[in-house]
Symmetry: C2
Subunit: 349 residues, 2 copies
Amino acid sequence: MGYRIAVVGATGNVGREMLNVLAEREFPAGEVYAIASRRSQGTEVSFGEKTLKCHDLGKFDFSKVDFCLMSAGSAVSKEWSPKIGAKGCIVIDNSSCWRYDQDVPLVVPEVNPDDAALHEGIIANPNCSTMQLVPLLMALRDSVGLERVIVDTYQSVSGTGAEAVAELEGQIRAHADGRRPEANVYPHPIGFNALPEIDVFRDDGYSKEEWKVIVESRKILHLPDLRVSCTAVRVPVFFAHSEAVHVETTEQITPDRARELFAAVPGVVVEDDPTAHRYPLATHAAGRDEVFVGRVRADASRDDGRGLAFWVVSDNLRKGAATNAVQIAELVTRRGWLAPARARAGAAS
Amino acid sequence: MGYRIAVVGATGNVGREMLNVLAEREFPAGEVYAIASRRSQGTEVSFGEKTLKCHDLGKFDFSKVDFCLMSAGSAVSKEWSPKIGAKGCIVIDNSSCWRYDQDVPLVVPEVNPDDAALHEGIIANPNCSTMQLVPLLMALRDSVGLERVIVDTYQSVSGTGAEAVAELEGQIRAHADGRRPEANVYPHPIGFNALPEIDVFRDDGYSKEEWKVIVESRKILHLPDLRVSCTAVRVPVFFAHSEAVHVETTEQITPDRARELFAAVPGVVVEDDPTAHRYPLATHAAGRDEVFVGRVRADASRDDGRGLAFWVVSDNLRKGAATNAVQIAELVTRRGWLAPARARAGAAS
């Protein structure tokens, strides 16, 4: 039999990758449905060796599926996730709509799996920039304690969507042909530039992307007072986000010990031999599920052994989105958390 | 009459820009000589509307010139700068060869002009990544005190040289044609990637580029104990370096006050209206002499008003190299510091 799964937003960058990951990981799926807006109805998408026709979100009966992996933006999620969840289908949502709701778990299976048990029909998938960071921060939290984190990002255009990938492709072609670049998706050309604007700006001068890294890290790590700062920057890279990270720890830690701790985290790969030009790279991480970390060193701005600097890279569409969503579904099935938490509590009492 | 100036390394990216800047700023030059290695002898370079033929470094008589603007790498500078300086010609050297020598001034005219008075024939021009940072750090040092600086860079390929610009161009063309990129200048493709390797690596895990930012900032700012950390990253941008900066100050400071202080520094332009998509950008800064700063905000990892985050962009070939070198020459002539410091002291006593 297997589980019945609906992928909402199946024609988008992340939706397509969700279908790829479900097929690759051999998730025990009985039926898989591709769902999209009416506009994309009839569009065909790949699921392993099969081809799926997209169903209309407005007409699909979610009572017949166990999981809805949703990557259709906050507006769609806000309207649909509660309705779908009420039909007994667990929504694993990739938008930012529910992440900050205290009743909705925000889960990275390697970091806070038990939070998933508390779901009432919706589980939120973290932002890509947060996702690749928290497994490493967890390792430090559990060994030497975390005081403060500064992270500056080098984010790929695929995080914006297929239209942004096409825009960078167009600007590359324009450059090769000696034409002026056209910019529609981003406010300035992304080709051969670094744009310090991702998502909208808040009154405090931070972009919402930067704020997500701050707030989501605290929630996932269960460190509500963790001091975090971030500058989020879009660079002309197609796939995978890179991050320069500077951490202050409560107790002393050496780079060697940090590498040991990082290597012990499931899904993390240490690539760290800079003199041999070996360190994480966006072009190497693209298409992979792991979080790659390297350039681990004692932070030069601390002389007391309580600072670390490192470089983290991961594919924003894979571990940063689709893979983590599928891992959440795997976690829920493995632990028997399909029913909402209150229903399970009622059944147990 | 005017001053007689030799530009050594005149066929390189920075050397050509030095000639451009000398012409544009109407430096009172009587004679300008383009000097290069024997290999480039006879090559023609532009100086304003004129064309100059390159002279052979090995045969040129430096006793007939007042200034030698040198951008020919550390090995050439190590051999030639002392010889040229001994002939009564002031060497303004763009390599890292003399920057850390305690007898050689390392000068940014807006920041530490008086240090230039101490020269004994050689004045060092700082590294591009340091150059654009220190005018802003100076403003904070002088108003609220500086405790700690973390800077992560987004550096353009022109900093590596003309061959790196050609390599990125080649990789763009390869991408447009569906061919595999070739990488010779960098250890990995720079096209559509972020490389956390600039210059060689030290035993402590920092790259020499990162170490330069740390050590040069301390020397220029006269803060030998300033705590600084840096991750230096090459991105697929042609001209201008961008930097994400996080600063801890001794006293409290608001973003508004920081913007006022920054705007008052000569050569600094505040571009800071992010909701209108206005912030410093590499493509806007290219070809300009100013240091552009924006995204100024209270650093979210400090809750005591003693942290600032901002984004700094400047053209690495202009203010980051050529313009600063010419400004040093202007400073020396304006203040009458042409003779070496000891000679001036002898004449005065």
